[in-house]
């Protein structure tokens, strides 16, 4: 076990870390004198510089942040909803629905990306459907406009003035752009493919919940919504934590769809840190910066996992208390 962990986990991470603080340029083994120690230079180049490397990281962070903020809640809610629906014993053909909802998850993400590229092309199925409804759909994968900018634009608000870069080389107007139209397609794609997996997790947990509590609530006269909101979801908290954690990790590592589908286009609005790390290393031979970006991504994932854990932390309340809503207002446990 120690050998396996060491070989496949500790050594690669240590080597990647060494690369991130070295000037290795991709020729020869970085451990044998081909690279020199340069301290935090790679990190400061991508974080504090005023050049393209910093701007690209800023864009990638922004894009991925909006992606995470959209995908994690949507897929969690959708997965929970689907699980509750197919868990009910009364649903006819629930075996079929379970398989159907899980199906996107077992399909190769590359295949689904390609299908989506066709569905969302300028005259693809989605836009034809919208045309039937009298809506002129955008040219999805070629549209770099951010949805927040579009929404503001609808009210006549344009970039008020050029404020200059505030963080990672982007101006605050660029930070608030929201996901681009193209990124929205990737968001839909992610929710579509991963909800089935998480539905399965919720379903497994639902099946292990004691039936007596539910029955007691029915006897007490709780409505179905109250039973879901006050009993089922709080009891699913460990699963909820797992789903959100896996969701955060997976979404921050968005790579496949970008690599196979958009390559960061349009207008670098689907650039993500994982893809940027790959591109910086393999295309630009800036391996130190690429590794530094990977470690920054790692730090972000750890921090967001810890934040998620803190938000979903166990409080000294028990389920029965939660049946009295007035008791603890604003606990905001996310349940």
């Amino acid at each position: 076990m120690v050998v396996i962990l060491g070989l496949f986990l500790v050594v690669p991470i240590a080597m990647a870390f060494w690369v991130s603080v070295s000037d290795w340029r991709g020729v020869g083994n970085p451990m044998t004198g081909a690279a020199r120690f340069v301290g935090a230079a790679n990190y400061s180049d991508v974080l504090l510089g005023d050049g393209l490397a910093t701007k690209d990281l800023g864009r990638a962070m922004r894009n991925n942040l909006y992606y995470v903020l959209a995908v994690v809640p949507l897929q969690t809610i959708l997965a929970l909803t689907l699980a509750v629906l197919v868990h009910r014993r009364v649903v006819a053909g629930r075996g079929f629905f379970r398989s159907a909802f899980y199906f996107p998850s077992v399909t190769s993400s590359v295949a689904i990306t390609v299908v989506f590229l066709f569905l969302f092309s300028a005259t693809g199925a989605v836009n034809r459907l919208l045309a039937v409804l009298g809506v002129e759909g955008p040219n999805w994968f070629a549209d770099p406009r951010g949805v927040v900018h579009l929404a503001l634009g609808a009210f006549g608000i344009r970039a008020p003035y050029e404020s200059g870069p505030v963080l990672l080389g982007l101006s605050w107007w660029n930070w608030i752009s929201g996901p681009s139209v193209a990124m929205c397609v990737l968001i839909v794609l992610a929710v579509f493919t991963t909800s089935g997996t998480f539905m399965l997790l919720f379903l497994a947990a639902l099946q292990h919940l004691p039936g007596e509590v539910e029955e007691a609530a029915v006897v007490d006269g709780a409505t179905p919504w109250q039973r879901l909101h006050r009993i089922t979801v709080p009891m699913l908290r460990p699963t909820l934590f797992t789903v959100i954690t896996l969701g955060l990790i997976g979404t921050w590592q968005l790579f496949d769809q970008v690599y196979t589908g958009t390559q960061g286009t349009p207008g670098k609005t689907t650039l993500t840190p994982a893809y940027l790390s790959y591109q910086t290393s393999f295309q630009q031979q800036e391996w130190g910066q690429g590794a530094a970006i990977a470690f920054l991504l790692f730090a972000i994932i750890v921090v967001s996992t810890l934040v998620g854990r803190w938000l979903l932390r166990e409080r000294d309340t028990t389920a029965p208390h939660r049946l009295r809503p007035a008791r603890r207002p604003g606990t905001g446990s996310g349940s």
């Binding site: 986990l9 050594v11 690669p12 991470i13 080597m15 990647a16 690369v19 991709g26 020729v27 020869g28 083994n29 050049g51 393209l52 701007k55 690209d56 998850s105 993400s109 092309s121 300028a122 040219n139 994968f141 070629a142 770099p144 493919t193 997996t197 997790l201 497994a204 947990a205 460990p238 934590f241 797992t242 954690t245 990790i249 997976g250 590592q253 790579f255 496949d256 769809q257 960061g264 286009t265 349009p266 207008g267 790390s277 910086t280 290393s281 393999f282 295309q283 630009q284 031979q285 391996w287 590794a291 970006i293 990977a294 991504l297 994932i301 750890v302 996992t305 854990r309 932390r313 166990e314």
Partner: protein
């Protein structure tokens, strides 16, 4: 996104359960970050068999445009192999840049490989290339402008294997339908705008080209602009000439007589022309093969791009035969000398529609391909890719901004690209 593994949660007290879930999460995070490390040096290089460091086999890694190119290169390499008695093997890369990078990182690079102008400077800069040009018997025959793309810090490293230029491709049926004749072929920007307007109908636009420097750069060249000074010392992006070019392009798009291929629901200019969505496109030699394969019924002709305020201008695209430093360089250079000979290059030109990189083969190529003379004419005034490490990233950023050109301020675009390019040129 990688599919997350299914987890069975450990049973136990509620407190402990949370703690264990946390532990599992941390392990997952670690594993996940290791996966996304982006450093391939622990990977076996997928370049296949031995690389000829000691066993005398010359490996040739190519990024092929299709079966025709693969077969042509394989035939040429095996002919050389049987003549010289040195074993050689052609490997077709799925992702050339990545496989090349992994080869160098693992210290097992291929001996000979395709190297694009955008990748060249980074590889020259990190010492992975063997400069062999002077050892070639035909060194003096290569077009100087092509060699400039493979010169870094005063050293010309590798021999261009062939090249392509941009020209104006016209759908002749649409041209005749609009009542245009040979006398109307555009020679100035104003005339280009006129014919584009005349060719624009409800079903197709007059002109199409992709929103990237690799097409719009031709307009910059015609305006007299450039990206860098001739010696690649400083950036010259933020110039009145370039601004005039971008404003001209913006006006073409804005007035509806020109459109990007993506807005015509096509992937590139050739598809826009072949599908009939555009009457004229700005594309290079590769369009000939693509039209023959995908749209054999569409009739078209190739003419030189019109002159801009700065005279004639176009862009050239080339790859070179890179030779890895420190491997079996002698045999590798011999092979390259053979592959860049006029005869070999003319065979490649016939097989997959490129132009020979040596001027000595130009006359015969023109005789063989009279309908494509406009591409070769561009060799005299074409601009190439700036050879500086990091320039590829700057141009990628330029392209990202050009996608928004219809709504953007061209001066802002040029100013930001100028600063970034100057930074990588060492300003």
């Amino acid at each position: 996104m990688p599919q997350p593994p299914l987890l069975r949660l450990p049973v136990g007290g509620r407190r402990r359960r949370t703690a264990r879930v946390g532990g599992v999460a941390v392990v997952l995070v670690l594993a996940a970050a290791a996966c996304s490390g982006g450093t391939g040096f622990t990977d076996e290089t997928p370049t296949g068999a031995d690389d000829g460091v000691d066993d005398g086999t010359v490996t040739v890694l190519i990024g092929s445009s299709g079966a025709a190119e693969t077969e042509a290169v394989e035939a040429a390499v095996s002919a050389w192999s049987s003549e010289s008695g040195i074993r050689a093997e052609v490997i077709v890369a799925a992702d050339l840049n990545q496989q090349l990078s992994q080869g160098f990182a693992a210290a097992e690079p291929p001996d000979v490989f395709y190297l694009g102008t955008d990748q060249f400077a980074a590889h020259a800069d990190n010492g992975s290339l063997h400069p062999y040009l002077d050892a070639l018997p035909q060194a003096a025959d290569f077009y100087p402008s092509l060699l400039r793309s493979f010169t870094y810090a005063g050293t010309t490293y590798c021999a261009p294997k062939d090249f392509s230029t941009l020209a104006l491709i016209i759908n002749t049926d649409y041209w005749a339908a609009a009542g245009l004749t040979d006398a109307d072929l555009p020679t100035t920007w104003a005339q280009l705008r006129e014919v584009a307007t005349a060719l624009t109908t409800d079903t197709h636009v007059g002109l199409s080209f992709a929103p990237e420097w690799q097409r719009i750069g031709a307009f910059l060249a015609e305006a007299g602009g450039s990206l860098t000074s001739p010696d690649n010392d400083r950036a010259t992006v933020d110039s009145p000439e370039n601004l005039e070019a971008l404003e001209y392009v913006q006006d073409l798009i804005g007035s509806g007589v020109a459109a990007f291929p993506s807005t015509l629901n096509t992937g590139w200019g050739g598809e826009a022309l072949g599908s009939g969505s555009a009457a004229m496109v700005v594309e290079g030699n590769w369009i000939v093969g693509a039209m023959a394969a995908d749209f054999p019924d569409v009739r078209y002709r190739v003419v030189e791009l019109p002159e801009g305020p700065g005279g004639r201008g176009t862009l050239q695209f080339t790859n070179c035969w890179g030779v890895a430093a420190g491997t079996d360089t002698e045999a590798a250079v011999e092979l390259v000398a053979d592959l860049t000979s006029p005869q070999a290059q003319l065979a490649f030109a016939d097989a997959y529609g490129v132009m020979p990189s040596v001027a000595t083969a130009a006359q015969q190529w023109s005789g063989d391909h009279p309908d494509q003379a406009a591409f070769l004419a561009g060799a005299d005034y074409a601009h190439g890719f700036p050879s500086a490490p990091g320039a590829a990233a700057v141009l990628a950023d330029f392209n990202a901004q050009l996608e928004g050109l219809p709504d953007a301020d061209p001066a802002d675009i040029l100013a930001s690209v100028h600063v970034d390019l100057q930074a990588v040129l060492g300003g």
